[in-house]
Symmetry: none
Subunit: 127 residues, 4 copies
DNA sequence: GTGGTCTAGACCACA
DNA sequence: GTGGTCTAGACCACG
């Protein structure tokens, strides 16, 4: 499953891109694997088709995926020639942690939150 | 006292909000203290009056400050004791941690980030 | 559906806020319903976009509505279940009753006013 | 004591005017009585001298009071020739009660609030 | 001088 | 099309 945060400053199409790259990075997606169709993903995530299209289009120009008319979308042969960095999220996290600190939340509280999320929310599947 | 990064993805009014909260949190601003007037800050930062107004308005509805017609803007009595806002911050954190997880950031990475933030911030009066 | 009195001492954005809350309260708007777009309402009422935006922004921080980029503005899940806002309303009431008392309004006068309001409003679905 | 609400839509100078008229109306102030000096009232209420001046000036042009250079300010002989109506407060109250109702506050809750205020807050003195 | 409200219009990102 | 941000400038009420 791909996780999308509507309210993030990071646009949805970037979130999707980053997560697909990550799935490739961790070996969950391998070259030649087929990605979910645009409409399929659109339905799953309840997100506009155009947004998914936007993500896929950028991934294609970056050489991460290939879309084949009438067949589907596939992971490219050398998908990670241009390595990508997950930076936006960490910036966001940084700001939010500072915000929470300023508002009196303790370090322990935050770490507990993280543990809880990572334990319960194992939301990695091949989708 | 306040700095603004025009090029950040974080809107200016939020940058200002966060910095004022920080100044309150560190004890530099105390209840009853007067903030710079919207026009004054507007000139200092070379930012439109309305943008400053926007920041101040949100801080007021969050109970951090009180603005008084014709007098100025002042730090509230219990500026950071607002359960609802703290809850909102935690919700935001929750979303972002999930987002980071989905994008392949490890639990340890996040916890390191937190440690770093809390350590550098520990010089503050209140934490 | 929404009316505005330009000459009132009550600012337009507050009039709009109150009427939307009322529409939610009476069950005319239900969670998930879509509100008119800011531009649409702006045209209908012949009021500047920013003024509408102002109303919607406050309602969002109060948890009554959610606005989603590119999609629209929607009634939140529990639009009126916000302890903090209710507390704020009661504080306002407190101030105004004291004000009325100081200006010679009798207890009975106020109670009559309340009865009248609650009676005429009793046709509403939820009260 | 005169009661002033900083956050009311009714301007402070009007609140003061109304309350003095009310004190005359109820016979607490009689023709010839001396009002507190501008500075005295300014200190008591922690309100700017100009604001008090504004109230007194209007009351004088309306014939309610006479100010005598170097002696003080006194209630006029026929102070209430032009009868005044306390309307602003009631409008405010009306709006707030509706607001509270919309937010789920019960009629009884409000009436309790009123009883409590009127019982404990007998803040009428000659000042 | 202060804050409060409103308008008009611009540009952006997203669906 | 949608909302989000920012600017410029106006007028008001209040201190």
């Amino acid at each position: 499953m791909i996780f999308v945060d509507n309210k993030s400053r990071v646009p949805i199409y970037e979130q999707i891109k980053e997560q697909i790259v990550m799935l490739v990075n961790t070996g969950i997606y391998k070259p030649g694997d087929r990605l979910p169709s645009i409409r399929n993903l659109s339905n799953q995530l309840n997100i506009n088709v155009n947004t998914i299209k936007h993500s896929y289009a950028q991934l294609e120009t970056e050489g991460v995926i290939n879309s084949v008319q009438g067949k589907g979308v596939f992971i490219a042969e050398n998908p990670l020639e241009n390595e990508r960095i997950v930076k936006g999220v960490l910036d966001d996290l940084d700001r939010m942690v500072r915000s929470a600190m300023a508002r009196g939340v303790s370090k322990e509280q935050i770490k507990d939150l993280i543990d809880r999320i990572y334990e319960t929310g194992e939301n990695y599947d091949k989708c």
